[in-house]
């Protein structure tokens, strides 16, 4: 099959990659700068026998995709900061009922209405902690559009495999920029689907795990299993319980699904970190500028290196700790007033000097600004 070369915006890439991953249900609500994802899905899904609906609000969109997921269909929504805030309760619901789904957040300036047509990266912490209660999410932050294509597929794969909502963090730059790349063929990626039960319905418990497994087999509605899903704390049968031991253990298992599968979930890029004295940590579109800054510094004889988390949640603590041991200082560059830097400080676990190169106001952190920060600590 001849590869197709395209010049797509990030939002278009996100939509097309989702379809390639098997997504056949999208529910969304218009919000800048994510709306093009909905537009593409509204055009393409019916062509693929899928379903698109523009719901009456962001909360409804999140509810609809969970309903579709429980009925057996890979589903997705897309939004930006204010919508992401609205969706939080239902994101927590997806965690609790362990419904696979993907939420793309094309970040913009915040908080509140913020800067709708300008980029930001200030929803990072929210992607991890936005909803109440002990829960875990997975969040991916690609930096290049060709990478975004694979990361969308990986988002669906992770959500199916671990029965967890997966958030893909873009920003207005990535969403609206265009890059030329060749669309990957199906040979270049695998598709993972949820594991369905093989036992007969009478023996099925929707949240039962055996033999050291952490992820329950997932039946779909209407296949004879007639299970109950609720946001209340529940036992393996799916019915509500207030038994403290059962509740505690079930929530521990939900977190362990992610914490004990780091090898499969973690992903990052390292550029010239082997001998880096100044480690630059950055993600998403800011990391592109950080990459330039690192190259510039190397030209000038400063041993800078870039650590770029691609999976941002769970945060790659161990990698940061490893690199922090060798480095003299860390510069964390991000389009917010200090969010990934908090994770870096936590993970570094040492007295190493850590400074932030932080900017809000809707314009990207530029390479020269990162260069200046590197010089400060070099």
């Amino acid at each position: 099959m001849a590869k197709k070369a395209v010049f797509w915006t990030g939002n278009e890439v996100a939509a097309e990659a989702a379809i390639a991953a098997g997504c056949r249900f999208f529910a969304g609500y218009p919000i800048t700068p994510s709306s093009e994802i909905a537009s593409v899905m509204s055009l393409r899904l019916p062509e693929e026998s899928g379903t698109f609906i523009q719901m009456e609000d962001e909360i409804a969109a999140m509810g609809a995709i969970i309903g579709a997921s429980l009925a057996g269909v890979k589903s997705m929504t897309a939004t930006s900061g204010p919508g992401f805030s609205l969706k939080q309760e239902n994101i927590g619901f997806a965690c609790m009922v362990e419904a696979p789904c993907v939420i793309v957040n094309v970040q913009r300036g915040g908080p509140s209405t913020g800067l709708p047509t300008h980029p930001g990266q200030s929803d990072l912490m929210q992607a991890r902690w936005g909803t109440h209660g002990d829960h875990t999410t997975v969040a991916l932050a690609p930096a290049y559009l060709s990478e975004l294509y694979f990361e969308m597929i990986r988002a669906f794969n992770l959500s199916e495999k671990f029965r967890v909502p997966v958030i893909v963090l873009l920003d207005e730059i990535l969403g609206h920029m265009s890059e030329c790349f060749e669309v990957p063929t199906p040979k270049e990626y695998t598709i993972i689907n949820r594991v369905k039960p093989t036992c007969p319905p009478e023996k099925y418990n929707p949240y039962e795990v055996r033999d050291g497994q952490l992820v329950p087999e997932m039946a779909s509605y209407f296949e004879g299993y007639r299970f109950h899903a609720t946001g209340l704390n529940h036992d393996k049968t799916g019915f509500p319980t207030t038994d403290p031991v059962v509740c505690h253990q079930d929530e521990v298992r939900q977190l362990a699904k992610i914490s004990r599968n780091r090898a499969e979930i973690d992903s990052w890029e390292e550029v010239m970190t082997e001998d880096a004295e100044i480690l630059v940590v950055s993600f998403g579109s800011t990391a592109r500028g950080a990459h330039s800054a690192v190259l510039e510094m190397r030209k000038q004889g400063i041993r800078a290196g870039l650590f770029r988390p691609i999976t941002v949640w769970p945060f790659p603590d161990e990698e940061v700790r490893r690199l922090a041991r060798k480095a003299k200082a860390i510069v964390v560059a991000e389009m917010n007033l200090g969010q990934m830097i908090l994770e870096v400080e936590r993970a570094a676990h040492s007295d190493i000097k850590i400074v932030g190169c932080q900017k809000v106001g809707g314009v990207p952190v530029e390479p020269y600004e990162i260069v200046a920060k590197i010089r400060e600590v070099a």
């Binding site: 019916p46 969109a61 609809a64 309903g67 579709a68 509605y221 209407f222 109950h228 209340l232």
Partner: protein, 282 residues
């Protein structure tokens, strides 16, 4: 011969958690009888609820059940129905859940005319959270968040549904199980968005604060304020003041149903793609 509810129930979960005399059990039984009369299979039915006493109902039904977030049942149900339009999707929730926090989803489902049946157990109160007033609590009634008397006017849920575009709208009452079963059955069988409001009794929270603490007192009060549709048609507005008309209030079988329309859209999209692919390259 007798009716057997047990095949439709998760019997090991009984006795259910509702107060002695609570109308919700009556509504659930009417729903079961309606489903039985239609000959529907349990595997083909999804029952979705929000949060509140009424929303605990799906847990007792041996069907595909989903207990969602407060007010959001209809949005989850919409997702289920859109991906499985061949299946039966029922939403059951209370007045606060459905038309306060859930109001937006309610009116848009009416507007879309999606083939979902929505049963509202209207007991004029937020029962589970301790008796706060809801958008259907009568003016002047006492509630835990209205100790000086509710000063807000209340919705007429059937008017709201009709105004928003629902194509089957009915009002039943807990004291008439035969009528309620028929109204629910007709709503389930109707191909479009069906709303059945059930005038119901929460004597524990609403009744107790409003001089109607016993189930039968409150049920008689409900009976007294209702008027059958056939009789109401002959009454003037003065006579109807303060009364609730019960029966099938509105039906339109001709309005296009949402999933049907989307299927046509899919066909158009696929035909256009095929045509484009077959067209000679310029």
């Amino acid at each position: 011969m007798a009716f057997d509810y047990t095949p439709y129930m998760r019997m090991s979960k009984l006795p259910h958690l509702w107060c002695p005399g609570c109308g919700i059990g009556i509504v659930v039984k009417s729903l079961i009888r309606a489903i039985d009369r239609l000959g529907w299979l349990k595997d083909d039915i999804a029952v979705v609820s929000g949060i509140g006493c009424t929303s605990r109902a799906p847990g007792y039904l041996d069907m595909n059940t989903l207990h969602t977030t407060h007010g959001r049942a209809i949005s989850f149900a919409t997702g289920i129905k859109l991906v499985r339009p061949d299946k039966h999707v029922i939403v059951i929730a209370g007045d606060g859940d459905m038309v306060a926090i859930g109001g937006n989803h309610f009116i848009h489902a009416c507007r879309r005319n999606i083939d979902i049946t929505c049963i509202i157990n209207n007991n004029n109160i937020y029962g589970m959270t301790g008796g706060q007033y809801s958008p259907t609590t009568p003016r002047g009634a006492k509630a835990s968040s209205a100790p000086w008397g509710n000063m807000e006017p209340c919705f007429d849920l059937t008017n709201l549904a009709m105004g928003a575009g629902a194509t089957y709208v009915a009002r039943g009452q807990v004291n008439n199980g035969v009528q309620l079963e028929r109204l629910i059955r007709d709503g389930l069988g109707h191909h479009g968005f069906s709303v059945i409001e059930v005038l119901s009794n929460c004597h524990t929270q609403f009744g107790r604060r409003n001089k109607l603490p016993d189930p039968m007192q409150l049920i008689k009060h409900i009976q007294d304020k209702t008027v059958p549709k056939s009789k109401a048609e002959k009454m003037d507005s003065a006579e109807l003041a303060g009364k609730f008309v019960v029966g099938e209030l509105f039906r339109d079988a001709d309005r296009p149903e949402f999933c049907d329309e989307y299927a046509k859209l899919q066909e158009r999209a696929q035909a256009a793609t095929k045509k484009k692919a077959a067209a000679p390259v310029a």
